[in-house]
Subunit: 319 residues, 2 copies
């Protein structure tokens, strides 16, 4: 919630924070925010802390993942999360269940992880097959292990001023982390969030509000969304519509956090919500897709898991 100086109307000679930014000053182009670099820095810090925990109390954080079915995107996400855990020394265990499993089998798997003392964080990879009740399954995750932050108690406490959720959803944390690392001031700024998904848009709007931005949420029922987005100092998009956000949607100098990610077959790569080429000539800084806020989101999952373990063991790193 700290107030940070706003440095994005900056001269070419900025240093320090500029290490996350690539800027071409020959003509106006936005600084590209290097999410992989930020994620690596965070992971290095987490790895040190995990190692200190191990040396100090001979324990490491543990993440339990529940994966139902074999959706290609879910398999990829779970593999990425598992690998990231390994990189920082977090133990991970994946419970795989068949596509046609029953709700009670999933609830049993959640219960097992709830009771497993070496598992400090639990995530249920979404989306679940349609025959399973996502609400019932997420609500079954112990609030103290809800590292995804999707339990209604955590979401409610995120919404309510003066309350502290145990966990905040990783993509929203990733968004704030990117803004902070690039020294973008949030307090008092106009922030517009496009999209209101439970996973990203909604919690990000709540978190930006906690940081005292003036937040507007634009969604599919909004008429002329560009009239609202073009007032934004900070624009966050999370709808999964490639190139939805065009140049005239943007205020000159806006900081763009593109959380959309859609696999475009022709490009054989994922594509964000924002027309990158156009935004480059209008924004002051922008996260690319891929390589923007995505890797930072993963590192926030690791951070939440370490936090859960620290609470479980009542361990604090001596500084």
């Amino acid at each position: 919630m700290r107030d940070r100086p706003d440095i994005w109307c900056t001269s070419p000679s900025t240093s320090g924070v500029s290490s996350h930014l690539t800027h071409d000053y020959n003509e106006h182009t936005a600084a590209e925010i290097n999410g992989r670099l930020i994620a690596n820095e965070i992971k290095a810090t987490l790895a040190t802390e995990v190692s200190n925990m191990k040396n100090s109390i001979n324990k490491v954080p543990g993440l339990g993942v529940i994966l139902v079915g074999k959706r290609k995107d879910s398999l990829t996400f779970v593999r990425i999360k598992k690998k990231a855990c390994e990189q920082v020394g977090i133990a991970s265990v994946v419970t795989e269940l068949p596509e046609d499993c029953t709700e009670s089998e999933v609830l049993d798997a959640v219960s097992m992880l709830n009771h497993n003392e070496s598992v400090h964080g639990i995530l249920v990879q979404l989306p679940l097959p349609n025959h399973l009740c996502e609400e019932k399954i997420i609500n079954a995750v112990k609030v103290e292990k809800d590292v995804d932050g999707f339990h209604p108690v955590n979401m409610g406490n995120l919404a309510m001023r003066g309350r502290e959720p145990l966990f905040i959803p990783c993509a929203s944390l990733g968004c704030i982390e990117v803004l902070n690392r690039c020294s973008v001031e949030i307090l008092g700024k106009k922030a517009v969030v496009i999209g209101r998904s439970m996973i990203t848009g909604l919690p990000t709007s709540l978190l930006l509000q906690r940081h005292h931005a003036t937040v507007s949420v634009v969604h599919s029922f909004t008429k002329n969304p560009e009239e609202i987005t073009c007032e934004a100092d900070i624009l966050v998009s999370d709808v999964g519509v490639p190139n939805l956000v065009r140049s005239h949607w943007l205020k000159p100098g806006v900081v763009v956090i593109d959380m959309g990610s859609t696999l475009v077959k022709e490009k054989k790569n994922s594509c964000g919500d924002v027309c990158y080429e156009e935004a480059m000539h209008k924004a002051s800084a922008i996260t690319p897709v891929p390589g923007g806020v995505g890797p930072v989101t993963i590192s926030m999952l690791l951070s939440n898991t370490l936090e859960a373990a620290k609470r479980a063991y009542q361990w604090t790193q001596k500084s």
Copy 2:
């Protein structure tokens, strides 16, 4: 969540909904929304349903109120709520505790009401004295009896799309009820909420969003709030600053829901956030203070309590 036709740019001959509105067409003046009339209509419906419940299963809904200390405003609110319960046949019981009581005494009172089968709704009159932890006490209220809707599980489920909170805070319900009864369309409209209190501003912004308005939240860190409010089709204010909202804050034709209420000693009456005289010449409709959304809020508390009792007894009125 129903979509309603927008009728506020209407001719003088409107009927039906106009019974809640007083309009002077000699010069442009906003229609005054008569909250007392709306509240009386709601209470008449609730009284019939309570009476039917009594005749059918010999039970009536029960509301348990916890009042700590003798704050003048709290005493007044509790008296009003008690009287409203009597009007519709809801039983009410007030647990009064001294200003200097301990937290465990309050928690014991909550626990007693949680276990009392004839009490279906519980409310803790806020604010509590500073030495008591509001969060701990509100979290102790059984979610199924949380008729104020302030429990984080209910607030989280209000925020999350596709989830249904058991209860929604009464002031927010009152706001939507007023808009619905005056046939103000919400879907796709720009709504601006001034203030983000847990009791009113925050849940109202979440509820307006559930009704598919495009919502912006303005607060004390917002620079030039009038630049945002003057775009609003629906303006909700809840900050408790008399006459904060002036004519130039308003878009012509806006519907104003004034939820602020500050006791002004010189006037010996409460005063809203909106400069009423100025707004009368700009808005299409406005709730006065007093007599606007306040009485409707109280009737929503009765409605939530009846709902809680219906769930507890699994009773449904035959139509």
